[in-house]
Symmetry: C2
DNA sequence: CTGAAAGCGCTTACAG
DNA sequence: CTGAAAGCGCTTACAG
């Protein structure tokens, strides 16, 4: 069923049919009603492609993330999706697996499809690369720290790492080690930098930085290695909750008392932080809000092209310390079940 | 930049340009090379909408899930995405929030966009509703148990609930209670049915079925209520790991020994099952595989319309028991860190 | 308020 | 192997 057929059956021109779709106020109420009736009767829905060939917007945005399985991206996706739905747009979701070539391929692809805009979570995207992909003048929002040339939003890992380190120092811990996921989370760099800055400011000697394979298991193995070969630090600041959980498991196996002998803190404030013993001190990240902010920025760009003309905007979201018991904190601060 | 301009610059007709895009073997190697060169120089990419207006396939599939944030859906999404990418298709992802009206709206919308096919995770979709949305003759795969009229795939919750109950009985537990998430996971019904069947077959009296709010907290509160008001069952079979973790936390607070006095088992085999003490016996679900299977079924339908003519196909995936210590199992069966 | 016509950017029989 | 032309299904000035 197409517009011509509808026009024939309604005994009007295709122009009139098209008008009830696009500018209903321009057509006489009676004819309009009649045409709508014919459309309904035939379950007619205009061909999307033919339509978009003539129209500017596609009501589609693209979202590229390193991988969908990552717990954090998942919340970002949900945040973007919720805003997009409110705006009447749908989301084309793509996984880049963190590979730049794959990012480029997908960027070209979504541009090809004339999406209204693109949100991309990436750690190595520059305006120059964007230009190469033909996205130079499109609405685009980066999730992550860009080169300052792009509209971007990200979580302030540096600042919170500073605060967490400071917190541990405040509890009397001196040698604080960092344990990071070697699968190059883009957050490693800012964490290291915040951590170092805090130690410098407090005039405390820098601790060791350990790299581990990702996840519970990676944290476990790294911690056991550390326990076996080095003098025990006073605290381990892990780059993810999973790593921290692994450290806790290792500590239990090796008889290292947490938090008396060793403080352990994590990074994602996952649900399970409250369950483990002792409860894990961690960092709450506004992941869903990050997605929502990115989407809002994007729709600002889409709806008002002028904004893009101005200096690119950067939105920085602040995470929060969630103090529990694994850091050696004595005061009652946070309890989930009351 | 459009095809006409490329044709002009390459001094050929648009037909020839179009041919190097669609049937390169039909154009002389030299002209082809020349045209490709001109295209590359201008960074030309054909208009997707104009193209799809003439072509049959859009290389896009739609995936509707109740919500993206759910840990299980997330893996399903990843599974679908990985297969789609291999097939050169992209995924239009939509959240239905489990609301039928929203499902209908989105189904119409994606159909509108001429996607090649649709995968929908739903607990109340019928072929009849599909027909109403105009998707009657489209390639469609249901994730969930359908009305037998649709191609579908799902996880056999009934069977695994039977097995888990049987396992608990085998360990000498007699009164086994069920603890379910009241936010109507569609899996509640099959779990109840498998559980009841196992007790019937073993000629053991049915236990109680408790409904709880979702998550850790829901499990915790429900368990504390149970401990305070009823005689303790021998085992609690929780409908999700989070619920089970909540029960474990409650048991610790109330001094109920797990597994000596009370066995607890969960349902998702989340990463943390190995971390808690005692390690949580649970059920491993092939969620990612579910997504992959759904996508494969869909591409079968897309690539060979004949298949749809035959009787609708149903694929049932089998989950696996992950026996650990919280059920009172004595033998060494499973250990993550060795 | 309505219609005839040109145009969006492509693809593909049809002739040569 | 290549080109002129019709057509995909819509939208929107332009006239009336």
């Amino acid at each position: 069923m197409n517009i011509k057929e509808i026009a024939r059956q309604a005994q009007v021109s295709v122009a009139t049919v098209s008008r009830v779709l696009n500018h209903p106020e321009l057509v006489q109420p009676e004819t309009r009603a009649h045409i709508l009736e014919v459309m309904a009767r035939h379950n007619y829905t205009p061909n999307w492609f033919a339509r978009r060939l003539n129209l500017a917007r596609t009501n589609t945005i693209a979202l590229l993330v390193p991988n969908i399985e990552g717990g954090i991206n998942q919340k970002v996706v949900a945040g973007v999706e919720s805003v997009a739905t409110k705006k009447g747009s749908t989301v084309l979701l793509c996984s880049t697996h963190g590979r730049p070539e794959e990012e480029d391929r997908l960027l070209r692809m979504v541009f090809d499809r004339r999406v209204d805009g693109v949100i991309c979570s990436s750690s190595n995207l520059t305006q120059a690369r964007l230009n190469e992909c033909g996205l130079g003048s499109s609405a685009f929002v980066l999730i992550g720290q860009g080169d300052g040339e792009m509209t971007a939003c990200y979580i302030n890992f540096e600042g919170i790492a500073y605060k967490m380190t400071q917190h541990l120092l405040g509890l009397g811990r001196r040698r604080i080690d960092l344990l990071l996921d070697e699968t190059g989370h883009s957050r490693n760099d800012p964490i290291i930098s915040g951590y170092r800055r805090a130690l410098l400011d407090a005039d405390v000697q820098q601790g060791h930085i350990h790299m581990a394979a990702g996840g519970l298991r990676g944290g476990y193995l790294a911690a056991r290695r550390l326990f076996a070969t080095e003098t025990l630090p006073d605290a381990i600041f892990a780059g993810s909750d999973d790593l921290a959980f692994g450290v806790m498991k290792a500590a239990r196996d090796d008889g290292v008392d947490i938090p008396a002998r060793l403080a352990v803190v994590g990074f994602d404030d996952s649900l399970l932080c409250d369950l483990v013993t002792p409860e894990l001190t961690s960092i709450e990240q506004p992941s869903k809000r990050l997605g929502m902010v990115a989407a809002r920025l994007l729709f600002d760009l889409i709806e008002d092209a002028q904004i893009a003309e101005t200096v690119p905007q950067e939105v920085v979201l602040q995470p929060k310390l969630k103090i529990r018991r694994s850091c050696g904190n004595k005061k009652y601060i946070h309890e989930l079940f009351d």
